[in-house]
Structure formats: C-alpha cells, structure tokens
Amino acid sequence: MALWLDVILVLLILTSLWLLGSSRLRACIQAVAFQGIMLGLIPLLCAWPDITVRLAAVAVLSMVVKAIVLPGMLRRAAREANVRYEVQPLIGFTTSLLLGIVLWGLAMHVSRQLPVTMLHVTPLLIPVAIFTIFCGFLLIVSRNTAVMQVIGYLALENGIYVFGWAFAIEDPLLVEMGVLLDVFVAVFVMGIMIYRLSREFDTIETDELDSLKE
C-alpha cells in the first residue's frame, strides 16, 4: 500500500500547487475539498490491511467534514457575500507557484533534519505535511478576500492533520478530535468575519480592515 500512499501524497502536493496557481475561487474550493478526500484516505492506507471500525469511522467522518461540509459552507458564504469569482492575489500566480517550489525544497530540507524515527510508512509524509502548512500560510498572506484566507487556513489545517498522522498512528482519536475542533472553530470565526465584513463594508476584502486601526 505504500505505493498508493505515495500517490496520494503526490496528489496532495499537486492540489496545494493548484491552490497557489488557480485564479478561480470555485476551483480553489474544489481543490480543498479534494484535499479533504485524500486526507481521509491517508489513515486507511497507513493502517492497511488491519482497519478497525473506529479508524474507518474517523476517516469517513473527516472526509465528510473536510470534503463536503466545509466546502459547502464556503460556497454558501461566497454566494451570500457576493464574492467575485476571481481570486485577487497580492502576489501573482506565477510568483506564487515559484514560491511554492521554493517552499517544497525548504520543506524537504527541514524534514530531513527533523529527528523523526516513526516513519515506517513512507519518507514523504513529513515533507508533504510541512509543505501543505507552508502553502496554507502563503495563501493567507498573499490573497485578498476573506474566503481565500479561509481556504488557506483549511490547507494549513490539512498539513497539521497529515503531520499528526505521521506521529500518532497509535492514538489517532486525540489528534482527530483536536484537528476537527480547530477547523470548526476556524470556520466559525471566519464565517462570522466574512459575514460581518460584507455587512459593514459591502466587501470581504480584508484590506478594508485597516481602516479600523486607531
């Protein structure tokens, strides 16, 4: 199963790069949903062939939340706040992609130095996790609309989720609960923020927030 796991990890890298390079909001939401499905498969493939009912339930639940519920909420938020369907980047798409490649190299370098001994499945797991976290940060920093920042935040959470799997295969539930809670709070807060932003400023561009400073 290591081969399939590697395939999924490579797909994660590609979706992250897709997130960086895509100019359409809808495509980005779809990419994040796709990431969610991949993430749900990782625990199953890691533990293959002895899959317990609990593990399966956790995997299915996370797939439902990450691939259906959260993207659905994002679509609804985007529709209700009348977001334009183009992503408005502060850093251009090409530059973002180039930066993504630099970040991939950095992630490889950093993960090689990490004193991790538990990598009995695949050596790709840690670099992918770190790369996804970096991409999430880059998205939050370089995109203008709040919806895109929520997407970046979700990517970041996905990376942490992968990271958690690399470490806590023995006790997944702890990680799982923590991650789900995190995501839920984040979407909750961001949802409120998007709503408030569009009500107060008729826009969800977070740039407008700096008019709030003293």
């Binding site: 502060l90 950095l106 370098h109 950093v110 130095q113 990490l114 970096f134 940060f137 880059l138 939050i140 920093v141 370089s142 995109r143 203008n144 920042q149 977070t206 740039d207 927030l209 700096d210 008019s211 709030l212 400073k213």
Partner: protein, 663 residues
C-alpha cells in the same frame, strides 16, 4: 484563626451585597459599611487573641494552583499590622457612609463599597499570607481594588490621570516582587514562606528588590510620585485607608522579607536609613509648598514613611553590628509609628474630607476661620496636626522618641563598637528626625492656621457647615486613640516585643529582649510628663472656665491698627507663610513663580502665582516615560491592521525557528 476567616467572609459578603444592591445606593452603602465594620471587628479580635496568647495561629488549605498553597498564619508581626488596618478601615467605613452619599454620584456608591470591602479583605490577606503566590494574588487584588477606588470620581480628567499613574507605579513595583519571590523560592522549588532560602551572596540583591518593590507601595522617595496624585483624587475615607494603612503593607512586606534574609550586609541598613532620611526630609519640604490640603497630607505620608524607614534602618544596622538597643528600639519605633501614623493620618484625611464636604474646596488659600463653624473637625484636626508634627504629649512623639532612644542609648554606651561610623549615624538619625519634626510643625501651623483660624477667605468658607454625626464620631474616636497611645507609651514596649523579636534573627533575640527593661525608664518618664501636662492643662482650663463664668465673654473684631477697611484677603496666605522656607530650600523644591508686580503710582493689576511640581516626577519619571512612549510609537508601524502581514509575521517566525533549529 476562625475569627479571622469569619472576618474575611463578612468583608467579602459585604462587598458582594453592596455590588448587588448598587441600584439602591442607600441600601448598598449600609450593607457595605456594615460588612466592613463587622469584618474588621472580627479581624481585630483575632489579632488581639494572638497578641494576648503570644502564639501564632495558622491554617493551610489545599489549593489547586501550581506552586501555591492557601497557607495563612497570624504571627505577632502580622497581628501588629492587622490591628491598625482593621481599626482604620472600621472607622473609615463609619465615616464613609454619609460622606459618599453627600458627595458622589449615586451610581458610584455600590461599586465603591464593593471595592472598599475588597481592599480591606485583601489588605488583611496580604498580611496573613504565608505563601508567595497567595501573597502576590492578594497584593495585586489590593492594588486593583484601590485603583478602582481612586477612580471613584472617574468623570474628571485629573482623576483618570492619577489612576493611571497609580496603576503603572503599582505594576512596576509588583514586577520586582515577582522576581524577589522567584529568587527566594528557587532553591527549594516552593513558594511557601517557611521554605524560602537565600543563596549565598544574593541577600543584598534580594533586599534591593524588596526595597524597590515594597518601597513603591510604601511611597519611599523617589518612588513616591503616585501618592500626591492618587490621594487627592480618591474619596477622603479611601485616602485615609490608603494613606493610613495600605501603604504600610509595603513596610510589612519589607520587614517580612528581612526575616527571610538571615545575614544582611551592613550597607542594606545604611541604604534603608538614607532612603528614609531622603523621604522624610523631601516629603515634608514638598508638603510645605502645597496648596491643596490633600496633596499636602499625601506628601506627609511620604515623610512619615521616611520616619518609619529611619526606624527600620536603625533596626537593621543594629542587627548588622550586633547592637541590641538599636535593633530592638529601631524596629519597635518603626512598628509603633506604623500604628501612630495610621491613626493621625487617617484622622487628618477625614478632617480634610469634612472640610471639603462642608465648603466644597480643598484649596488652603480659599479657606479660613473654619474653627467657628466646624469646631469638632477643627479640634480633631488640631490634635492630628500636633501628633503628626511629633509634638508631646501625643503619640507621634512616643514612636520617634523610641527611635531617638535606640541611637542615644547605643552611642552613650562606653563599650560601643568602634567599627560603626557613629558620627554619620547620629547626624542622619537624630539630626534628620529633628529637622523633619521642625519642618512638619511649620507645615501644620500653616495648614491649620490658614484653614481654621483667621477670617474666611472665600464665600465657600463663609458658608461652611459642620460634618454629620457619624463623621464627627469617627474623627473624635481617632483623636482619642492618639491620646490613648501617647499616654500608654511604655505598654507598647511589651505589646510590640514579640513582633520585634520575629524580625530579629534567632541568635540576637535574647539580647534584644533584654533592652526592654533598659529603655523602660526614659519611656515611663516621658509618659509621666504627659500625664502631668494634661492634668495641668485640664486644671487650668477648668479654672479659667470657672473664673470666666462670672463675667460674660463678648466677641469683637480684631484690632486693625486703625485701618478703616480691612478685608480677609489681607491675611497671611498659606503660600506667603511657607515662602521663607520654600525659598530656603528652592534648590530642591524648584518652585515656579509667576509674578506680575504692581507698576506705577496707581497700579491697576498685580498678580502672584506659585506652583511646586514634584521634582522626581518632572525630571526623572517624566523624561523616562516620554522615552518609553517614543519607542512605543515607533512600534506602532507594525500595528497597521493588515491581516495578511500579521499572518506573515507568524509564518516568518515559524520559518526562522525551523531553519535556526533544524537548518
């Protein structure tokens, strides 16, 4: 111990009830006041029990806080502080109920009593706490409760300013205390007082930390800048509690810290002595130049804390040089002065509050002739003024006499230690105490004379009215307490003995206890003179009344040397009275004088204004904080409101950390 716990419970209950009832100010005032009175009576009973039996009472409860247990104990040293705290709070609560209703907005009454009771409870807890964590929690609670009390009249800009200065000063002080306790608890890994240990060579550093941390609360110069701001801003009964007893918790903390530091180098004693002398003389000099009666009293708090510092410094030197008379009498004088200052300073603040209540102004130059309309306030203020100036036969004299005696007995000893620098010691202690006493007398003749004697200088003073019955009762009680302490001076030698022996290291206790009979003679002598003087005065006034009752007493205007149209404005003002002394010390005081002298043969207008801003606030703290504000304003560039950049900061931090640690 259960009495003390019950007292704290009653205080907390009073606090909560008055907050809940804040919609009904009259009721809130009653419950708050009653809670404070009841709680304080219980606490006094607990403290007297400890002093009477001579055995400490303590209790330790488990507390789900790391590094802390709920350890509380009343030992003689704590008891000596609990009694003035509870007594002054009790009397201030009686006074405060009518005072708050008369002078403040109804919406502030309930919260004000909440914080008042909270302040009382936390002060008592500070003194009784036996664990560093509990102590700091209570200490912060005390600072915050008093901060909100200072802000009672928060609609005024100047009051808010005073509140900020107070809050900043308190937190800077607490920062030092935090370091102090962590250093003390480092070797044992516990913040319990009885497990504190001093690493070798660190005693001096710890003492300096305690001096700064506790000295900020106590108001030692140059850390006193919050006092002249906060005391005038707070309601008078709160000023009485803050100035009378809250600043003494700083003294308590300092003395308690001394018990943790077994081998203090002698320079610590000299430092405390020097700080005491600076505060004493500086405080009274700045007091002389004030026009506002409450800032005048605030500076006098600095002065009296200085006297207490001199006493404690003498005591520390006595320990360092192994001179029992200095050790015992220095600390005993300091502790007795803590009680005395609590009594007369709260009396004076209550008097100032009554004057403000009756006239609507605190400006000494707008008052005058109040003794006729406010005889009780005036009479009790006079008693307080005599006591604070250290004049016999009042209590201020007794405690200063103990400190004098500590030095005099030691220097008169034929076999005195040649290693001690006696000349500077005598000059510092005896000379400065005498100078402080003299200047304080000058200051209070000015304050009392301009406020209560002569003719009213303004319409407000002309239409003054005496304070209500509970307020008068509070002031008369305090004035009577001043006499009681003075007339029973030698008794305090025995009452304070266990507390002083707690401070003195175990090896020197026997020798220190032997000082009591040696010093009894001079104290009893003074006391006998007091009794005789009072008896003579009583007899004379009785005789005078007897004689004058035969003829009637008439009131006539003062002879005006034939001048046809004298006005009250021709009287000496407070500024002109103090002017010679202010000019003498102008190098230190730096008064700002704006003079428009009369010009020509028929001058139309002339004017004179003087103002004495605080030296340290102006030349030390002002520039320092301006610098801090400048640096902070540079940091504002990072506070731009762009979410993207905020996240970038986080991401860059993580990247740098990752590369630094792993690259």
């Amino acid at each position: 111990m259960w009495l003390f716990a019950a007292g704290l419970t009653v205080l907390s209950a009073g606090a909560l009830l008055s907050l809940l009832l804040s919609k009904a100010p009259r009721l809130a005032s009653w419950t708050g006041s009653a809670g404070a009175v009841g709680g304080c009576l219980l606490a006094i009973a607990a403290a007297i029990g400890v002093l009477w039996s001579g055995e400490s009472a303590g209790a330790t409860l488990a507390w789900e806080v790391p590094l802390g247990s709920l350890a509380v104990e009343i030992d003689p040293l704590a008891a000596v502080f609990i009694i003035p705290i509870a007594l002054v709070v009790l009397i201030a609560a009686v006074y405060g109920a009518p005072y708050m209703q008369g002078s403040y907005h109804a919406s502030t009454v309930g919260p004000s009593w909440f914080f008042f009771n909270l302040l009382a409870a936390t002060m008592l807890l500070v003194v009784a706490a036996r664990s560093g964590l509990l102590f700091l929690v209570a200490w912060e609670g005390m600072s915050l409760a008093s901060f909100f009390l200072v802000l009672t009249d928060h609609r005024q800009e100047s009051v808010r300013r005073a509140g900020w200065i107070y809050l900043v000063a308190m937190h800077l002080g607490t920062a030092c205390l935090l370091v102090l306790f962590l250093l003390l608890g480092r070797s044992s890994g516990s913040l319990e007082f009885d497990q504190f240990a001093v690493e070798p060579g660190l005693a001096g550093v710890l003492f300096v930390l305690a001096l700064i941390g506790f000295g900020t609360k106590a108001g030692f110069m140059p850390l006193h800048v919050w006092l002249p701001e906060a005391h005038p801003a707070a309601p008078s009964h709160v000023s009485a509690v803050m100035s009378g007893v809250m600043i003494k918790t700083g003294i308590y903390g300092l003395l308690r810290t001394v018990t943790f530091l077994p081998e203090l180098p002698s320079w610590c004693g000299w430092t405390l002595l020097a700080v005491g002398v600076l505060s004493g003389i500086g405080g009274v000099l700045f007091a002389l130049a004030q026009h506002d009666v409450k800032s005048l009293l605030a500076y006098h708090s600095v002065e009296n804390i200085g006297i207490i510092g001199i006493g404690a410094g003498v005591g520390l030197l006595g320990i360092s040089y192994d001179i029992p008379a200095m050790a015992f009498l220095g600390f005993a004088g300091a502790l007795l002065h803590v009680l005395n200052h609590a009594l007369f300073k709260s009396l004076l603040f209550l008097g100032a509050g009554a004057v403000q209540h009756g006239t609507g102004t605190r400006d000494i130059d707008r008052l005058g002739g109040l003794l006729k309309t406010m005889p009780i306030t005036g009479g009790t203020f006079f008693v307080g003024a005599c006591a604070i100036s250290g004049l016999p036969p009042l209590n201020g004299f007794v405690s200063e006499w103990m400190i004098y005696l500590g030095v005099l007995l030691s220097v008169a000893e034929p076999a005195r230690d040649a290693n001690v620098a006696w000349a500077p010691l005598c000059v510092l202690v005896i000379g400065s105490l005498a100078l402080i006493g003299g200047l304080a007398s000058a200051c209070f003749t000015k304050a009392f004379g301009c406020m209560f004697l002569g003719e009213p200088r303004s319409e407000q003073a002309r239409h003054s009215h005496e304070a209500g019955r509970p307020m008068r009762a509070a002031m008369v009680t305090l004035a009577a307490a001043c006499f009681v302490v003075a007339l029973s001076g030698p008794v305090f030698l025995f009452l304070l003995r266990p507390a002083v022996l707690t401070i003195v290291p175990p090896g020197a206790r026997e020798a220190a206890a032997a000082v009591v009979p040696q010093s009894l003679g001079p104290l009893v002598g003074v006391c006998v003179i007091f009794w005789a003087t009072l008896a003579a005065v009583g007899l004379l006034s009785w005789g005078r009344r007897k004689m004058s009752s035969a003829g009637k007493v008439d009131g006539v205007p003062t002879w005006d040397c034939g001048y046809a149209a004298p006005t009250p404005r021709m009287q000496y003002t407070a500024s002109s009275y103090a002017s010679p002394l202010v000019i003498l010390f102008r190098l230190l005081l730096r008064p700002r004088i704006t003079l428009h002298p009369p010009v020509g043969l028929f001058p139309k207008q002339a004017g004179f204004e003087s103002e004495t801003p605080d030296l340290f606030a102006q030349y030390v703290f002002g520039p320092t904080f301006a610098g801090v504000a400048w640096i902070a304003s540079k940091l504002r560039r990072f506070q731009h409101g762009r979410i993207q950049l905020y996240v970038l900061y986080i991401a860059l931090t993580i990247l740098v950390l990752l590369i630094w640690k792993l690259g």
